[in-house]
Symmetry: C2
Subunit: 555 residues, 2 copies
């Protein structure tokens, strides 16, 4: 039988209405790099969001589920776009300004963006793309920046403030079906074209509720959140919408992401919670240390918690923040396809000391809305015993089940990304403890499938690099007639070292299971790297296939 509950949809429109009324006094504080930051209440943000919606509808012809792109830093104007565009029924398309120009142009064309909102400071990034963007009709420029670079554009250029000026501060927001598209974000995968993930009103709403739970980020009306993680990076981990829902004021760093300005804005505005990738926090830690030594910081930082995600965080960094500045670092895991919050590493009840740190250094625990399972090399599902390693597959109301717009214009589900029963294949390999803590060890493409078992290349590399004569080591899978795949160990020796393969093999044998020890070895002058400094294993595999490596086979 049906319940007697009201059938009220979960929408960004509701988040907007709630934040601008109940939490109308909360603030969006945007750092400007000089003098006082720009302050604007949630109520004012709502009025301006209505003006933006009127402008997009009346002036720029945005109708139905048209995509409206943003190429912007974290600031109050971007927040207005975050609210107005989904609430009016259109689709917010955040553009990752760190992508190569070619990919950016491809994405804008693929999403069929007719309108782009862009920060003036980012025009030098947009201008060169314009010749490749024949369908772009409107460029709306917000904030300072040299507009002259747009000369010659076939698109109409508007000033954001002029476009909004004088428009009504109310908008007749439609009641949208919660399963309709609200926002679009492309993954920048290393292989193939970028793939679009379309968030629904429902997924954004549920994700925001989850962000605000005490087992996640626990935002309240008494907090000020500092999303250093960009709003073009999986919706700044959900913080803008979640903050609007909880009445949490937002400190927006705009383009000032260097350690110095970050430390300054933290001292001036006193946020209570921040979110960023490890490299940002690493830089900030050094800055805080320097300022503290110089006496520039009084007492503890206002930051009670910083969320770290994007990649594993060194425990030393976590401990340094806590010991030296009283800031608790919380580890979280997620990806574009998971909205992104997949797991958060709060420790369980009753643990302390080293045991607590072990839990806090995992990728964390899943919430009820993220169902998880580990698929083994043979496709079988593995127990949560903290030892069986498999590819993480997840399911839930804010997890992608397809990608946007394949060749035929329909959503598509590549086999390597989704299981036949619709779960997302994360491409991450790891273990889950009996109490639900995830530890990721490898990317699926970096594990070696040897006779129905997996060997972690990362684990082998770590062990090899622990040898005093080894400078670097990279392990890749190579085809093997008997086992399917076997590990090939490539090693860079420290200057002057002449260590033999047998010794390295014996070194490994003491540390890992015998069947995991590689037979194939090669000393190389350096491990090939990608543009961002990661091991480029594609190159190694190709060198091996082409016979370009001097491989020794043992035993």
């Amino acid at each position: 039988m049906l319940s007697t509950m009201q059938d009220v949809p979960l929408t960004v429109t509701r988040i907007l209405a709630h934040g601008t009324t109940v939490h109308g006094k909360a603030e969006v504080i945007t750092w400007t790099g000089e003098g006082e930051p720009h302050r604007q209440t949630f109520r004012e943000t709502g009025l301006r969001a209505a003006q933006l919606a009127n402008a997009l509808h009346d002036e720029l012809g945005v109708r139905g589920d048209a995509r409206v792109a943003t190429l912007m830093w974290n600031n109050s104007v971007h927040l207005e776009a975050y609210l107005a565009i989904p609430a009016m029924g259109a689709v917010l398309h955040t553009l990752n300004l760190r992508l190569p120009a070619e990919q950016l142009a491809w994405i804008i064309q693929h999403a069929a963006d007719r309108v782009v909102l862009v920060n003036g400071s980012l025009l030098p990034l947009l201008a060169p793309l314009l010749p490749q963007l024949p369908t772009l009709e409107h460029i709306v420029v917000a904030g300072p920046g040299d507009r002259s670079v747009l000369a010659g554009s076939t698109a109409q250029v508007h000033d954001y403030e002029e476009l909004l000026a004088g428009r009504p501060e109310t908008y007749d927001w439609p009641e949208t079906d919660e399963r309709q598209a609200a926002a679009l974000c492309y993954t920048s995968g290393t292989t193939g074209d970028p793939k679009g993930v379309v968030y629904s009103h429902r997924s954004l709403y549920l994700h925001s509720m989850h962000v605000n739970t005490a087992e996640a980020f626990a935002l309240t009306g008494r907090d000020i959140a500092l999303p250093v993680v960009p709003m073009f990076h999986v919706n700044a981990w959900g913080l803008p919408h979640a903050a609007f829902m909880a009445g949490t004021s937002l400190l927006m760093p705009d383009r000032f992401l260097q350690p110095g300005p970050l430390a300054e804005m933290i001292e001036a505005v006193r946020p209570t919670i921040g979110a960023a990738v490890p490299t940002i926090w690493q830089g900030l830690l050094a800055e805080l240390d320097t300022r503290k030594e110089a006496g520039a910081i009084e007492g503890a930082s206002s930051l009670a918690t910083v969320i770290i995600g994007g990649s594993a965080c060194p425990p030393t960094l976590m401990k340094a923040f806590e010991d030296r500045h009283g800031i608790r670092v919380v580890h979280a895991w997620g990806m574009t396809e998971t909205s992104p919050l997949g797991s958060v590493a709060h420790p369980p009840a009753g643990v302390t000391g080293d045991e607590e740190w072990r839990y806090r250094c995992t990728q964390g625990r899943f919430p009820a809305s993220v169902e998880a399972r580990l698929a083994g090399p043979g496709g079988e599902y593995l127990p949560w015993d903290g030892e069986s390693a498999g590819e993480l597959e997840v399911r839930g109301p804010w997890i992608a089940g397809a990608y946007y717009g394949g060749a035929d214009g329909e959503h598509f589900r590549p086999e390597d990304k989704f299981s036949p029963d619709g779960w997302l294949r994360t491409g991450d390999v790891g273990t889950i403890t009996p109490d639900g803590y995830l530890t990721l060890t490898d990317r699926a493409k970096d594990v070696i499938k040897s006779g129905g078992e997996w060997i972690s290349s990362v684990e082998l590399e770590n062990h090899l690099m622990a040898h005093p004569d080894v400078a670097e080591a990279a392990v890749v899978a190579v085809p093997d007639d008997k086992w399917g795949e076997r590990p090939l160990a490539t090693v860079v020796l420290k200057e002057g070292a002449t260590t033999g393969y047998e010794e390295l093999k014996a070194f490994l044998a003491g540390r890992i299971a015998r069947w995991q020890v590689p037979e194939r070895w090669a000393v190389i002058p350096a491990v090939p790297k990608t543009s961002v400094g990661k091991f480029d294993k594609k190159v190694l595999r190709k060198q091996y296939a082409d016979g370009g490596l001097d491989v020794t086979r043992l035993g």
Copy 2:
């Protein structure tokens, strides 16, 4: 366009699966009144829930959306029912054991309960009803109690443990549509028959997520929650399902709700958060005071927070808990029709001292999922200015939009309970501040509609009772040719007092708007009371209508 998100339903089934895996080590601790409490992990609770589902399905013939009733205290068996019954697709029907026998029998018949789970200690309550329950087929008795009172019942009697013994510890839980019925609870309105509210899987899931947000009760895996509020009282304010979702251990008081045992279990199990109505906390405060003075309590209580709801809480009680025991009292408002969490009184940012207390003594602030408006006497909607008083109407995904099973078997929507556009009319009158804080002052039936304006009877009564000669005062609406309704003030004078009406009128005139001052006055020997000690205004209105009051009309 549709999103690319997975379409995963929000169900109690998911809460069950999550709690028994990720939070399998969390515990349900049931107080037994003697020796060690009964402890059972969430994992064990899940295994037993599966056994219960198997028993209900295979042995008792529970199919589809059949209602399964519970007449139970807060304990681990009741929690098993909370999980198993909705998860198997049936409907959990909690029976309020404090209702008069007639109402209880009516409700069981109305819901067509074929099966009832009952605690042995409550059999004396159930036995006398049985002759009126011809459709009841199975009585499942859990825990100690004299079964002999059931002799002569036409229903089959089962022992809970015997029924479960040996059954499979897994169940093939169906994937239920989230809008389907999960639980049923009847309101015990003072007028007319009780009305059934049917919660959906969706509403329970969303409500649980909300309970766990930091702006509500902020449950975590490191908390132990003590729901003193009964599980037959609007699902113990959502705590059982929310705790299972967050991995919060539960301390269940069973039938031991007296201050002494509550204090004992708090010291033995050390819960961190509790929930109950003010009278319970009032009793506990006295007990804690006594124990502290006697030196029986060492240090601060483990309770960091207690949630108070059900009726307004005296600020002195709130302050006493905080000052004397370091326990923070949090005020919340809700009703059966609101699942129940409607608002929670956490203060806003930046307030301290008396201002903070003013906020904390309100009914609190609405979450995003509870949309609110105030309907004035003429049906117009009033501003949130902290002054305009209107009837609170609410809308949202966990708010009732109808009642269960009218004359034709369909859900029905009485006009006085639901607005034409489907909002719930709460029957509560109050104000909302610009920052969304609700203060309730009256029940709608107790306000006087005078010439298109409302007069609060409670406010008049409070002012009258502030007069040194007045022992009690009750104000009711009486018909008036010119104004529609006007207030009639009935006053009980203190012994020996001979204060005149003119003096009382002048006393009021200095405190309220002139047009609100009553013209009609009557001194009465005592205010008629209901069985639970509340003013019985129905009786006063009838006395007035029948000419049974000696009314003086002034000016």
